[in-house]
Amino acid sequence: MKKGDLITPVSFPPIALPQLKAYGKAARDPNPIHWDEAIAKKAGLPGCIAHGMLISAFVANTAEKYLALKKGWSLTNFKTRFLGMTLLGDTVSVQGKVSNVTDQEITLDLKAVNQKGDLLATGEAKFGKN
């Protein structure tokens, strides 16, 4: 693993309402804009939008899966920034690269995009040697 290595993009199944309902319940997010279309539209949104942290979960999982190939490292820091809205039916894919490698730390830069290539979120994952 070296600086500049690309992470094979990972695509997740299209965002559907039952998933948002299940995630909202499991993540204890009380906000109805994620599952009630009428409320979402009233709030000026085009429709129900996915939870930002659901997209982060995709990003973090992609990072951990990539690093799992290299034994003995674990996630020490994860940062994510939300930049775009994810709508129902959108297909999210996560891509990225290795941005830094030292003896003690590996850093990955990741991003989540929709099927149109719009940027939804960026992520930075740091792994430390166990």
Binding site: Q19, Y23, K25, D29, N31, M53, A60, L75, T76, R81
Partner: protein, 132 residues
């Protein structure tokens, strides 16, 4: 709204168990495998209770906020089924005037511990539209 005067406000300490069945439901909803040795990194989002309680105390209505940024630092792995404690503090606020009016960036910091020692810290930035 004088948000600065609330900086430094803490929630007090919450205690609960991260139930394996809840962690499992979370993994199923995301579409990732459940690992009984450790919770997924973003499972800590279920502990935003403290942020919501503070926002309520400060007087910022939930529909006006957006999740801007999230950062987690992990000290040790947390097993599903662990009893954990956490405390959230409102640590910073910055105001910005934009083309859509005023916006405030609020930062909340949480310390999460299990078995008496620190397991993770969380830093959340929320954007409050029309608040400032």
């Amino acid at each position: 709204m004088n948000l600065e005067s609330f900086v430094g406000k803490k929630t007090g300490t919450y205690s609960e168990t991260l139930k394996p069945e809840d962690v499992k439901a979370f993994c199923e909803a995301v579409g990732i495998p459940f690992n009984q040795e450790k919770i997924p990194p973003t499972y800590l989002t279920t502990l935003r209770t403290g942020e919501f309680d503070l926002l309520k105390e400060i007087g910022v209505p939930l529909p006006q906020i957006l999740h801007g940024e999230q950062e987690y630092t992990y000290e040790k792995e947390i097993r599903p089924g662990s009893a954990i404690q956490f405390e959230t503090e409102f640590t910073q606020v910055t105001k910005k005037e934009g083309k859509n009016g005023v916006m405030s960036f609020l930062i909340f910091t949480s310390k999460i511990s299990s078995n008496g020692s620190l397991s993770a810290t969380s830093k959340t930035t929320v954007v409050a539209r029309g608040v400032g």
